[in-house]
Amino acid sequence: MACRLAGCRLAGFRLAGFGIAALIALIALVHGASAQTPSKVVIGYLDLVSAQLVTKALGLHEKEMGLPVEWVAFGSGGDLNRGVAAGQLNFGGVGNPPATLGVSRGLPYKGIFVIDMLGPVESLVVRADKHIDKPQDLVGKTMAAPFGSTTHYMTIAYLRSAGVDPTSVKLLDMAPNDAVAAWLRGDIDAAYVWEPALNKMVTNGGKILMDSGSMAKAGYPTWDIGVVMDDFVTQHPDLVTKFVKSECAAIDYWLTKPEQTAAIIAKELKLPLDDTRRMMAGTTMVSCRDQIGADYLGTSNHKGKFVDTLVATATFLTDQKRLPKVEPRESYEKFIEPKFLETAVGQ
């Protein structure tokens, strides 16, 4: 029914006018606000054992950047990628499989420092009473791993390298904490997850079948890399350098003061000290000076081995139909951005 009242059309125009003015004002406000100093920095992090817990506990970013920091926890790199796609984060951290996914999907971020090199801190745990001693025993069993993460990639790599068809294992997509609940209920026979969730399974009738350290030696390295959004780099490059500086300080703290680090992590993750020390031993921190070496990120002129790992991971995932295709090497090279490390280290 068309509006027949005399003032209706005029009122309609006025309303539209107000609406458009309000919209313009809102856009100007948002745009204007982001161009100057941001009101806060949003950092996405994975709830695993790393030096970022030290950064968080000691408030290093707040001190260095002079801004409030909002830490947002994610269950896995796949979830963090989604947060990046939604534009929720300024900084984040992902494993190499989610990183290749991000490059493939054109997520607007760059890898700027190494969070960790994964070892036994991520392991495949199986029920001790199910007599699973080799990968072939997993056929027909129910297993959990967070899809799109390092351990999902490890699971498939492990099975494939042993000649087992991954689809013959009933693989379920579960975040580590959900997997713990399922394990305790007896719903799953195996899981490939990371600490501290891993420990809860091992202490409840589990035994380790394989870990990421051994897989790395077999030619499947996994690591977590810190990322920053492209638009944040464009608007606040100085803050990015400060971010990397603080993270480097935390890594040095881990390497030089292991006991204090263990105390901090034990408190953050609410774990006993012994377990924390064991978990710390299962992952490797790389000092920022080493990170610009050829084995890791490399330098701006000559990117390091991390590019090769990204290409290998992408090839693997494309095989598994998790990626449409392998991007050209330049895309992965572009993703790796060592210049902030170089500035932070003083090169």
Binding site: L101, L107, L171, L172, R185, D187, R322
Partner: protein, 274 residues
């Protein structure tokens, strides 16, 4: 007899008045859908939206064909659809069997209402995903917890609409039937039930729509098949074309199933559609 003849207009005039209105409304619907599709095509052709968030229609169509013929993660589209619809039907049917009689009883007997109403009214506004985490802990990661969630989601609209229908029965009809000597069974079958059916049918349609929306939530944790799972899994890998395609599949099948419910409505309450 004569009043019936007078009530319905002569067929020729009825057709004339009916058809023109039908044409305009159909045109508007078609126009609305077409303009949305055109808008979508334009947005992606001129790259006004990041293709990660809104892939072009062609890409979404291709992923539909691919999942239909090759499959998504080892299962074809119809297998995913069968898994999801199986869960929905199981939960919905259970909710109908439990909810409708319960609602009728609650409407007819204040004591029954006093017992069950607080429970239903309490859990009704709770978000499904929060309930689901509890259900997974109690019932495990298999189909039981998923069907239980769908059952819990479907129940309140059914019981509430049945209850309201039972409470709004015209007492005049009841008294008239009693005057004519109806037994309690006859009263129920010839007066109560037909009076309540329209309200119950509306409740069924609302309940089904609501259950459908809870489907994705129920397939988030530890599913291996299902359209909701496919959407969730694809989103983890940022495959927005599969996500949008999955949403279309859900939406269109929902429309079809709603049409079936409306046909069922016409079947059991034909007097409303004369």
């Amino acid at each position: 007899m004569t009043s019936v003849e007078q009530a319905s207009p002569p067929p020729a005039i009825a057709r004339q008045r009916f058809l023109p209105r039908l044409r305009i409304e159909h045109a508007l619907t078609a126009g609305s859908i077409v303009s949305l599709m055109v808008l979508w095509t334009l947005l992606s052709r001129y790259k006004l939206v990041n293709p990660l968030f809104l892939p072009p229609p062609r890409v979404v169509w291709n992923s539909f064909i691919e999942v239909l013929t090759v499959g998504y993660q080892g299962k074809l589209l119809h297998e995913h659809l069968a898994a999801s619809l199986g869960r929905i039907f199981a939960g919905y049917a259970a909710a109908c069997v439990v909810g409708i009689p319960l609602g009728l009883l609650m409407g007819l007997n204040t004591r029954v209402k006093a017992v069950f109403d607080p429970i239903v009214e309490f859990y009704r506004p709770l978000p499904p995903l929060a309930l689901y985490t509890l259900l997974v802990m109690w019932l495990g990661i298999g189909n039981a917890s998923k069907i239980a969630l769908l059952f819990l989601a479907a129940l309140p609209p059914l019981s509430i609409s049945a209850m309201q229908a039972a409470r709004s029965i015209d007492t005049g009809h009841i008294r008239a039937a009693q005057m004519l000597g109806a037994t309690r069974a006859q009263l129920f079958r010839h007066v109560l039930l037909p009076s309540c059916l329209p309200g119950i049918c509306t409740g069924m349609r609302i309940s089904f729509g609501f259950t459908y929306t809870v489907l994705v939530a129920s397939e988030i944790v530890a599913a291996t098949a299902g359209v909701g799972w496919m959407i969730w899994d694809a989103s983890k890998f940022l495959l927005s074309d599969v996500v949008i395609m999955g949403l279309f599949v859900l939406g269109l099948t929902g429309l079809v199933l709603d049409w079936f419910i409306r046909q069922f409505e016409r079947l059991i309450t034909p007097w409303r559609f004369a």
